[in-house]
């Protein structure tokens, strides 16, 4: 059900999604469209509030990530994607950059993207996975993050069918799990 919903949503926003070779190109067109329609309002607001171009870009990129993750999850979609994006970006900016009278440090952000990425050992493991285990990470992210159906995973990564893509997915997952374990045990600060 989740996949069907996902495909319906993706088709709605990204026609031609069925062809895996077009996937990234379609996503690019999807982001360009959202950028052109939503970024001007975000930039205007942040500029009026005294923020910078870079701040506007950063919060808008995070808002796009949040929106994208919502489109691929089974969560209900906002009715108006542009209004949702503009609202999310404004809220992120207020939480991060707006100077308060008391100058409260801005680390009390309740929505942070990827806080774990900032942990030194976590990023060392990530760097390792990105290089030594790139193919596996791409396959796994395609399945667990982008939530592509296995038929698309098989097409994209050149497996003969759903079954061999499934086996490969679990083999990769096992490899990543063992790599993380092995690396984490050598980095003290990985586990809380």
């Amino acid at each position: 059900m989740r996949y069907i919903l996902h495909i319906v949503i993706k088709r709605q926003f990204m026609p031609g999604i069925n062809n895996p070779n077009n996937l990234i190109a379609n996503r690019e067109a999807f982001f360009i469209d959202l950028y052109k329609n939503a970024f001007p309002a975000v930039a205007k607001y942040i500029s009026r509030m005294g923020g910078s171009f870079d701040e506007a870009r950063d919060v808008f990129h995070d808002a796009l990530v949040i929106y994208y993750e919502k489109t691929v999850s089974a969560l209900p979609m906002p009715d108006n994607s542009i209004a949702y994006l503009v609202g999310t970006a404004k809220n992120l900016w207020i939480k991060r950059y707006r100077k308060t009278e008391k100058n409260i440090p801005l680390d009390n952000i309740d929505f942070t993207l990827g806080e774990d990425e900032n942990m030194p050992s976590s990023s060392r493991i990530m760097r390792f996975l990105e290089t030594a285990g790139k193919k596996c990470m791409e396959l796994l992210a395609g399945f667990y993050y982008e939530q592509l159906p296995l038929t698309e995973i098989a097409d994209r990564f050149g497996y003969s069918g759903v079954r061999s893509a499934t086996v490969q997915k679990y083999k990769c997952l096992e490899k990543v799990r063992e790599t993380i374990k092995e690396k984490a045990l050598t980095y003290d600060d990985f586990m809380e």
Binding site: I24, R27, E28, F31, I32, Y35, K36, F39, P40, A43, K44, S47, S52, F53, A56, R57, H61, L64, V65, Y68, E69, L113, G114, D116, E117, S122, I125, M126, L129, E130, M137, E138, L140, A141, Y144, Y145, E146, V167, Y170, K171, L173, E174, V176, R177, E178, I180, K181, A184
Partner: protein, 89 residues
């Protein structure tokens, strides 16, 4: 049992997608086998890292779109409109 079958069962346990019978058997095995319990913990961590990886790749794609919009001639009027908002800053 091959190791990828076990990985699949660990996944079913973590995502709560196993049927009741299999879920109970798995939980019993986990109690008796500390190594299996350990694998469950590391597999949870693996999903976390995969999520971070996916998000990082998506951000790179968004950065590339930003570059395109602010450097390529076909988008110049859009880029100028935005830059004008931040002029004198």
């Amino acid at each position: 049992m091959t190791s990828w079958n076990e990985t699949e069962q660990i996944e079913a346990h973590i995502f709560g997608s196993a049927d009741t019978g299999n879920a109970l058997v798995f939980e019993a095995r986990m109690l008796l086998d500390p190594a299996l319990h350990d694998k469950v913990l590391w597999q949870r961590k693996a999903y976390e890292m995969i999520g971070h990886y996916g998000r990082k790749q998506l951000k790179l794609e968004i950065d590339a779109v930003h570059q395109q919009l602010f450097t390529q001639p076909e988008h110049i009027s859009f880029a100028q409109k935005i830059r004008l908002l931040f002029i004198n800053r």
